[in-house]
């Protein structure tokens, strides 16, 4: 209970306070066009009492939501109650609706604020029961609200327009007239209100009343329209304004109004106190009038209710549950794409912070977000003081809305938003014109005023735009008109409000100026520190400035820890850590290896760490020769000396002489080639013996060159900083340089530069050099930088066939894909074109495939021509045939994984077969006719069968026969294997498998023994033979023979010797089976016979 009371009362007070505090801020943004004349006047009389103004301002701001009453009520509550209850009861019916709404909103606010998620859940449970009721109450609320807003505006306008014409004193009368009219209509609502209030403050009631109001409002609108017509005539006489040609006249009218304002001001100052009092009373009266009875009663009730909170609480739960449910079920934009976000001036939303809530009518949230960032605004996720606009759509979050109101943040809808952008361009042009015309001392203010006026206008427009679009046109006319009228005719009111706005606006303008002047500033700056490269100019000066190296686990921290502990660790003998140990501080290592891509700050880190820890840096980089001798003699000597560098800085004494060096070997992966021969090895030995810490740096620590060094170094890997890390640094640099670059362009640039800080800086400085900084162009530039990134053949091939990419690519871009690797690209295309799923009717696919194949075959012709006659000028043509045309025919997507060209493997296999075949051809040349291809086609299988069949059929008895064939064709043992390889087709069984392994071994043995005279030198032929073949043979043989085979017996010359000797035969006897002696005998016999022949 108590809590509820607090929640009820405190927020209100806080609201008041807050509103008052923030009113100043808010005033500039909320155009005061809709200020009610009556009130303004009264206020002006009171004039300088800020609080009152604020109240009014806030009211105006919230004119859409009608907030002000609550404030006015709360302060005046006691007074109202006690003094004027019944008198004023009927007089101000319109405003009575407003307070109700306000309260509702407050309630919502508190509810959502108080309720935690748990409560939500509970309420969800309760939901079922009360759902319908709540929904009913809720749905009308949004719609009726929306309807209300414009009507209220209308009302206010009516009043405004009336007020200027008539004297202040008359005004109340007029308004009273209107009110009276309205009163009559309202009386039923009052009754209803009462009835419903008995049930509690249920919102549904309020909404009903609202809807009634809205119906009234419609009537009023009509009246208003008529009124406006009259007014316009009226006004035209007075101000001689043409609605179309506004500016000049505006100036005139403003100057007029200004004079009046000045006069008025003086008057006010003199009689401020007196007037204040009187005004206050007047205001009070008015307030009372505006409050209708219902609202008053409500106030009473609210007091009572603070005691009766149980029901209320339940009510709230129900409400929030309903809201939550709505949120879950909410739909997408209703008229997606119905409107377009207009082109605005660059940076037109600068300094604006938006909060998006609800579902917009015709945009996706992303679109709006993009647009806002594009124009320099930013998006907040939660509501806070920093938020300048709340962009609300349908079913906007009530909590957010309420808080926005509380903070006095203007709530706009998407039309307003569009208008904001659209107006930005107009605004600028107007501003320029204005400046030209005005010069005198006071006029600057006027200028600003006008600017404000314009901005007000826009805002008023925006608030008004909630009216249906048909109304809009009319409305804009009237609005423009009205605002002018206000300026010219109700100068006093405007004045006070405007005054404050002016201050703020002027600040803004100043800012703008600053920013716009940034350019010249930067040019001045650049002339100052004469043409330093940005990379050097903005080099980090201390460790904290290194991008992406904060935190305890950062490389900077690790490195400095390692360095500080270095000497200590040398004394404590540490074991070598396991390579997988985490959080190793590198105590074991005497050297550190910093590795990472270029431009992430390795060298900078080392330099800064050394500086910070007071180490002297002895640096050697790729520009120094770092050969073995040099490292040995010079560097190692260097490290054993003491440094006197401190003397040069003026230090004397002990501190000046230091032994704290660090040897920094930068770019160690460049230590290769003749210049630095042996450098790495020497570096390693240096590391082993070093008395000072050594820091090495390289780009790729996995490269072959680094293999050995890595084992001796503490491994510190630098990764690319994240885009936003770089971005923030770049933004601040841009600011310092006065460079206006949209943030999204910067992030694009960073991505394009592959998150290389140095590269990004260079690119930025290039942009800075260009006078023309059109953000769109910058964006384009940023993406074009990316183009230069090299694609691998895999990505390229995907692009070749991707229909999506084709849309944006010119024919040159497409042929560029070929040139990423012109020797491989045709093969890749050929290998993968069958996997493409072209986006075309199914029956066309084959046709397209064949077209693509045809083009590929043409491409091969061009390729042949290029290679044959070195006509490299034909490459673009090949690009067309081999890549672009197939890509065009098969434009779709690659359905499978991209394959590496199989052609290469097949080709090497084919050439191996060719070689084998050629060998056999050469060997059999004497006894066969026929060319190589006849070996392939005819001989190979028959020859193989002639050799193998006897072995399979007759087993070891067939060996002799097989040997005969081998001999007559002058074949080597190895040729048998090549023959089988040549003649073996996929799906066939290798006939060699059928041969018993013992038989095979026996045959090999006999072959080795019976070395026949070959007509050719076998060694020469053997040259081409690979080691693998010998190994295979060994595997085929029996294990016991392996020893023999592994010996260099295969060499024919050695075999001869062996066969002459008897020893091998005797050796074999015990081990081999019974067959063997016989075979050996037969072989011996046969060989002898041959010799005889």
């Amino acid at each position: 209970m108590s809590r509820d009371i607090r929640s009820f009362f405190q927020p209100k007070k806080i609201q008041k306070a807050k509103v008052e505090e923030h009113d100043d801020d808010i005033i500039p943004e909320s155009p005061d066009v809709q200020i009610k004349n009556k009130k303004k006047e009264s206020r002006k009389k009171r004039v300088l009492s800020d609080s009152d103004e604020e109240i009014f301002d806030s009211k105006k701001k919230k004119s859409t939501a009608e907030p002000p009453k609550s404030k006015t009520k709360t302060p005046s509550k006691p007074v109202l109650k006690e003094v004027k209850a019944v008198d004023i009861f009927g007089s101000a019916p319109i405003k009575r609706t407003e307070p109700i709404v306000k309260k509702v909103k407050e309630k919502k606010k508190t509810e959502t604020g108080i309720h935690s998620d748990d409560e939500f859940d509970k309420s969800l449970l309760e939901l079922d029961e009360v759902e319908e009721l709540a929904l009913n109450s809720e749905l009308p609320s949004t719609s009726s609200k929306a309807a209300d807003v414009p009507k209220n505006d209308v009302k206010t306008k009516i009043e405004k327009e009336k007020s200027p014409i008539k004297i202040k004193e008359n005004k109340p009368d007029k308004t009273k007239d209107i009110k009276n009219e309205i009163k009559q209509e309202k009386s039923p609502t009052k009754v209803k209100d009462k009835e419903i209030k008995e049930q509690d403050k249920s919102k549904s009631v309020k909404f009903e009343s609202k809807s009634k109001n809205s119906s009234k409002m419609n009537d009023k609108k009509r009246k208003f329209a008529e009124f406006i017509e009259n007014e316009t005539n009226h006004e035209a006489e007075k101000t001689d304004e043409d609605t179309n040609v506004k500016k000049k006249k505006l100036n005139d009218s403003i100057t007029d109004s200004h004079n009046i304002i000045n006069k008025e001001k003086k008057l006010k100052k003199e009689s401020s106190n007196e007037l204040d009092d009187s005004n206050n009373t007047i205001i009070d009266d008015e307030m009372n009038e505006t409050k209708h009875g219902g609202s008053r009663k409500k106030m009473n009730k609210s007091l009572n209710e603070s005691v009766l909170t149980d029901e209320e609480r339940h009510e709230r739960k129900m409400h929030s549950a309903a809201l939550y449910k709505n949120y879950l079920n909410r739909s997408g934009p209703k008229h997606l794409g119905a409107k377009e976000i207009p082109e605005g001036a660059p940076g037109c939303l600068k300094d604006c912070a938006f909060l998006l809530t609800g579902v917009l009518d015709s945009f996706e949230r992303e679109e709006v977000t993009e647009a806002i960032t594009k124009y320099g605004g930013c998006i907040k996720s939660g509501i806070s003081k920093k938020v300048t606009h709340v962009l609300a759509g349908e079913e906007a979050g009530p909590a957010k809305m309420a808080k926005a109101q509380e903070l006095g943040i203007p709530i706009i809808n998407e039309d307003d938003f569009i208008q904001m952008i659209r107006d930005s361009t107009n605004k600028k042009s107007k501003e320029k014109e204005m400046k030209k015309e005005k010069s005198p001392s006071r006029k600057p203010i006027n200028n600003k005023k006008e600017v404000n006026g314009v901005s007000k206008k826009t805002n008023s427009d925006t608030t008004n735009t909630k009216k249906s679009q048909e109304d809009k046109t009319k409305h804009e006319k009237t609005n423009g008109f009205g605002s002018k009228v206000k300026k010219s005719k109700s100068p006093e009111k405007v004045e006070t409000v405007v005054k404050k706005e002016i201050k703020i606006e002027s600040e803004k303008v100043k800012k703008d100026n600053l920013i716009s002047e940034g350019k010249p500033d930067s040019s001045k700056n650049s002339t100052g520190p004469m043409h330093m490269m940005w990379v050097d100019k903005y080099k980090p000066q201390n460790l904290k400035q290194i991008i992406g190296q904060h935190g305890d686990a950062s490389n900077v921290k690790k490195l400095s820890n390692w360095l500080t502990k270095w000497y200590v660790n040398r004394k404590a003998k540490l074991p070598k850590p396991s390579p997988w140990a985490k959080n190793d501080d590198g105590g074991y290592y005497k050297a550190a290896l910093l590795s990472g891509p270029p431009g992430v700050g390795k060298t900078t880190t080392v330099a800064l760490v050394c500086k910070e820890l007071g180490f002297d840096m002895v640096e050697f980089n790729a520009s120094d020769t770092r050969s073995k001798t040099l490292i040995k003699e010079q560097i190692s000597e260097l490290l054993n000396t003491t440094s006197l560098s401190a003397y040069s800085k003026g230090d004397t004494g002990k501190q000046a002489v230091t032994k704290k060096h660090v040897l920094v070997m930068d770019e160690v992966d460049g230590m290769a080639g003749n210049e630095d021969r042996g450098g790495l090895q020497e570096l390693i030995s240096l590391i082993k013996a070093t008395a000072v810490p050594i820091v090495c740096m390289c780009n790729d620590r996995n490269s072959q060159k680094m293999r050995s060094l890595v084992n001796y170094c503490y491994d510190l890997r630098f990764t690319r900083p994240r885009v936003d890390q770089i971005k923030s640094a770049m933004m601040s640099i841009c600011f310092k340089e006065g460079l206006k670059i949209p943030p999204d362009a910067i992030s694009q640039l960073i991505v394009a530069a592959n998150q290389d800080v140095r590269q990004t800086l260079h690119l930025l400085s290039m942009w800075a050099a260009e006078p023309d900084t059109d953000p769109d162009k910058l964006r384009k530039d940023a993406t074009s930088v990316r183009k230069d990134v090299k694609l691998g053949p895999w990505e390229a091939i995907r692009k070749v066939f991707s229909a999506e990419n084709h849309k944006t690519m010119s024919i040159n871009d497409k042929s560029d894909l070929f040139f990423y690797d012109y020797s491989l690209a045709p093969l890749f295309v050929y290998e993968n074109y069958l996997q493409v799923a072209p986006h075309c009717p199914k029956n066309e696919i084959l046709d397209r495939m064949s077209k693509a194949a045809d083009s590929i075959s043409r491409g091969d012709l061009v390729d042949a021509r290029i290679r044959r006659s070195q006509a490299w000028g034909l490459l673009p043509m090949q690009a067309m045939y081999s890549s672009v045309i197939p890509g065009h025919h098969l434009s779709g997507h690659v359905a499978g994984q991209i394959q590496f060209p199989g052609w290469l493997g097949k080709n090497s296999r084919a050439s191996k077969m060719q070689r084998l075949c050629q060998e056999i051809h050469a060997h059999t040349r004497l006894s066969t006719s026929g060319s190589k291809s006849s070996i392939f086609l005819d001989y190979s299988s028959h020859l193989r069968d002639a050799i193998v069949n006897p072995l399979v059929k007759d087993r070891s008895d067939g060996i002799a026969k097989a040997m005969e064939v081998l001999e007559s064709y002058h074949l080597l043992r190895d040729d048998l294997d090549s023959l089988t390889e040549l003649s073996l087709w996929p799906g066939q069984r290798n006939p060699m498998v059928l041969i018993d392994s013992k038989v095979k071994a026996a045959m090999t043995r006999t072959y080795n023994k019976t070395a026949t005279a070959l007509p050719y030198a076998p060694a020469a032929v053997k040259k081409g033979r690979t080691r693998d073949d010998a190994d295979e043979e060994g595997l085929d043989d029996e294990p016991e023979d392996e020893t023999e085979d592994s010996d260099p017996e295969n060499d024919a010359l050695i075999k001869k010797k062996k066969s002459k000797e008897d020893k091998p035969a005797s050796k074999e006897k015990p081990s081999s089976s019974k067959e063997k002696p016989s075979t050996s005998k037969t072989k011996a016999g046969s060989s002898k016979e041959k010799k005889k022949k």
Partner: protein, 355 residues
């Protein structure tokens, strides 16, 4: 024990089994003192080489049959060392310049010059010239062929060239006009059958004439293949029966399989499978033009006349491209893809008519 095809090779011009009139003419040619450069061409297995060896024997006597193999070394202008194996006797040298690929020009220039510049040692009672036999002349690069034409004229006094080719269409006319061109046609099927009988008789086997004819038919009028098949038949099953299966070369079978794959389904996926088959054929050294021919023969069987023409013209076009290009597989596949497209359309139309 050699295979029959080598064992029963005739060694004398007069013992040749077919084209006997041509043999007689050659003999009379040799008996005259003048002996021009020869360009002997004909399909594989028609007996070109056999005929040449007979001719040489006629020319120089049995000394030419004492052959030896030597490797010769050459250095290309780009300082690359190349080796080539030659078969030679005292009277002639035989070389296969295409073994060294694109460097064949060097081989021809150096080798022919070397041989031509040295005179016969023993000129008495012998011919005054040596003979250089170049194999596979039609596969020589154009450069090599041009290098040849000058040497042919320059050293005509001391050496005669015998060029062997399968077809003279790829021999440049300049060379053709400098040679006496002799065509050795493939033997007719009857001739093959009679030779098979002869061989079997020599081997002491009896060969049914039906089987002989079938083998002859199967062999594509290639005598070598016929003999090898006949021997394979004997290994497979002896005594012969008239209806025994004649083993077909594996590659022909493979081409047939490929063709039936193409006919079975027309889709990119199938084309991918066919590609693997084509690769296999190329790896096994089947000349791609034979693949073209084999595929075409199989594929057009199911086509009507108009389509046959279309397919044949496409095959011819792609084969031509293959000759001009570098990578035969590209053109083979392009042909298959084209055929698939045509065939599928044809099938769909005919099916559409059916319904």
């Amino acid at each position: 024990m050699s295979l029959w095809v080598d064992k029963h090779r005739p060694r004398d011009l007069m013992k040749l089994d077919f084209h006997k009139d041509q043999a007689a003419r050659l003999k009379s040619l040799v008996q005259q003192s003048d002996f021009p450069h020869l360009l002997i061409y004909g399909p594989s297995g028609a007996g070109k080489k056999t005929r040449i060896m007979c001719l040489l024997r006629e020319l120089y006597g049995s000394g030419v049959e004492r052959l030896r193999q030597e490797t010769m070394n050459f250095t290309t202008p780009s300082n690359k060392k190349i080796e080539i194996m030659t078969v030679s006797s005292n009277y002639h040298i035989e070389v296969n310049p295409t073994d060294v690929g694109i460097h064949d020009r060097v081989v021809i220039m150096d080798l022919v010059k070397n041989v031509a510049q040295t005179h016969q040692i023993d000129s008495s009672g012998q011919r005054e010239f040596k003979v250089v036999i170049l194999n596979e002349v039609d596969d020589l690069t154009k450069d090599a062929q041009h290098a040849l034409r000058r040497t042919m004229e320059k050293y005509v006094a001391t050496c005669r060239l015998i060029l062997i080719a399968n077809s003279i269409s790829r021999v440049i006319p300049a060379i053709r006009s400098r040679c006496l061109t002799i065509r050795v046609p493939a033997p007719t099927e009857n001739e093959i059958a009679s030779i098979l009988h002869l061989v079997c008789k020599k081997e002491g086997l009896s060969l049914p004439s039906e089987l002989a004819m079938r083998i002859a038919k199967c062999s594509d009028r290639n005598l070598r293949r016929a003999l090898l098949m006949c021997e394979a038949c004997k290994v497979q099953q002896y005594p012969f029966t008239a209806d025994q299966k004649v083993p077909e070369p594996d590659w022909q079978q493979f081409i047939r399989e490929t063709a039936s794959m193409i006919l079975s389904e027309q889709s990119p996926k199938k084309l991918g499978e066919v590609r693997q088959k084509l690769y296999e054929l190329i790896i096994h050294g089947v000349p791609p033009d034979m693949v073209f021919a084999g595929l075409l023969k199989e594929l057009v069987r199911n086509c009507d006349m108009a389509m046959k023409c279309q397919v044949a013209s496409h095959a011819a076009m792609y084969e031509h491209r293959m000759r001009l290009g570098n990578k035969p597989i590209f053109h083979l596949e392009a042909f298959v893809a084209k055929f698939m497209a045509i065939y599928k359309k044809f099938m769909e139309e005919s099916l559409g008519d059916a319904f």
